[in-house]
């Protein structure tokens, strides 16, 4: 049996939007599924989010975006991730995401996209599969 490491996830709310019901629900679900969860709180800049990710040494960064600005925000995150040399961190995105934008997000390097209405089990399973790979 391999040693199973607990996945540590940062749930982050980038930008000015304050709709955090979804982010908080996902945070609680991941916690209950046995993961370690850090919640960024509201109104975080990408710099702040990347700094938290480094300080807390998380494995995964989850962005919750409801405003429609998911593509520019995600682009910015990946620029910063490269700058900081933390390309090993996995990124997933949730929120109000139209399906036509999913391929663009994936091209940017997002490992999983979970629009509103995705069953929690799906997100949990996705993150657990990462821990097995790791």
């Amino acid at each position: 049996m391999e040693n199973k490491k607990t996945v540590k996830v940062l749930i982050a709310k980038p930008g000015l939007d304050g709709h955090d019901r979804g982010a908080k629900v996902v945070a609680q679900a991941l916690k209950e599924a046995g993961m370690e969860v850090v919640y960024s709180g509201l109104h975080r800049t990408i710099d702040q989010i990347v700094n938290i990710a480094v300080q807390e040494d998380v494995d995964v960064i989850g962005l919750s975006i409801m405003t429609g600005a998911h593509i520019p925000i995600t682009q910015k995150l990946f620029q910063k991730i490269k700058q900081k040399g933390i390309v090993d961190k996995m990124v997933f995105v949730g929120g109000v995401i139209p399906s036509k934008d999913v391929p663009t997000l994936k091209e940017l390097g997002v490992a999983g996209v979970f629009p509103g209405g995705t069953p929690l089990a799906e997100t949990i399973q996705f993150l657990q599969s990462i821990s097995k790979k790791g």
Partner: protein, 542 residues
Amino acid sequence: MAVARYIKDEKDQILDVILESGIHVKPLYSPKDLEAIGFSYEKDVADPGEYPYTRGIHALGYRSRAWTTRQYTGFGTPEETNERFKLMISHGQTGLNVAFDLPTQMGYDSDDPMSEGEIGRVGMAVDTLKDFEIAFKDIRLDKIGSGLTINAVASIMLAMYQAVAEKYGYDPKVISATPQNDILKEMIGRGAWIFPVEPAVKLIGDTIEYSMTVLPRTNPVSVCGYHIRESGATPAQEIACAILIANAYIDNVLARGYDVDAFVGRFSFNLNVFGNMWEQVAKFRAARKLWARNLKEKYNVKKPQNLFLRGLFGGGGYGLTKAQPENNIMRGAYYALVAALSGAQTTALCSYDEAFTIPTPHSALLSLRTLQLLMDEMGLRDTVDPLAGSYFIETITKEMEQKIEEEMDKIEKFGGIIKGVSEGYIQRLVARQAFEVEKGLESGELQKVGVNIYKEGESMEVELHEYNWESAEKQIESLRGVKRERSEKDVARSLKELESAARDGKNVMPSLVECCKAYASVGEMAGIFRQIFGEFNEPSLF
């Protein structure tokens, strides 16, 4: 999202129904139920227009006046918003409800780095008075009232509204603005807060105090149970929080030495309509009664019309689903029916595509038509409070009253709403419930059409409202233009006055109006508040 929990036997017979607020619904109600709760027509409901106003605040209900329709509108540049306002008015909409973009709501100018990618995205961008001049051009501000959906910087936007009205030649005494202006609910849900609790509540007190004399037709605060419910609260908690929040604002103004009757009559409420329909009707009826009693008994309010719970009952955003989005059109119709059966003064509906995007003109119009159908075609204006006297409705209205009081007691026991919000007690409670609802949906204990039952069928993509990068550029250009043309001397002087008013704890409204008239920007005014008040420190939840 889901409406109630159903306990069934193996033959799909319903054994018990548990409403979100914890009320058990019985299979049958009869006069015995009214007897059991000690129902008294005079004491518990009374005629519409009579204390405790359970049946409504106006004797004739919608016979004397249909509800005001106020679809939430605004995006892109002020020009685009003005166009959409006019479109909605031309289709019979009777009030405006202005959506602001996030930078404006958060007190940043369009040229601030924090605003990048968000300019005009979820509402209209407002940097200076010039934007309001464009947005409200050719709109009769003496005839049509405007909801201003903004909170942390509501004081600034109310000042801006007065400034634009004066610019167009209206006496401030005739204009009617309803800034949302409820910061405590932003801290519980929605999240567009900036300043710490104490100065943020003080700013709200300033707008109430100022409106008493300068803007007498304005409703300076719209207390929103709405977003607390959206964030996970039960209907009973929604009302409990709303009443306690309203009391916190009353207390702030009372401490300035005013008589409660001088201002509380202008308070309004914004409450949610999704959920089990009977529970919502009971909620609104109980809320009117409890608000009136709260004002009479706790605050000794004298004038009957000051005891009215006036409100926008509508929205229903959390009830709508991304799955099978056209179902949201039908949901919206039922939500509107609930609002009408509950005696809403003002209403608005979330549009069916709002789980995807901001509404297109088509979907916004469908919502407006839904509302108009009820009043003008289906007979909802015929008679006031048509459900009154139903054994069932009167019983659960009374039960709802008790549930709301229990929730109020819980918060008071913790130390009150201000402490509850400052320390995250309410936020934790609400987040926990949101999680429980999700779990209920996943286990199937809660049912939602298209989500966990009746999932068959084509999923559809809706037409998306595209973000316009050119509009954003145009907005930044326009701000630069204003900055080139305005008198820097006047701006500096008015901002300096604002700074000393804020520092000395004076009412900031007169200085804000001067700043707006000098074309100081929202970012400049909010920047002064940021510097003096600091920012809210979000309590940690997990």
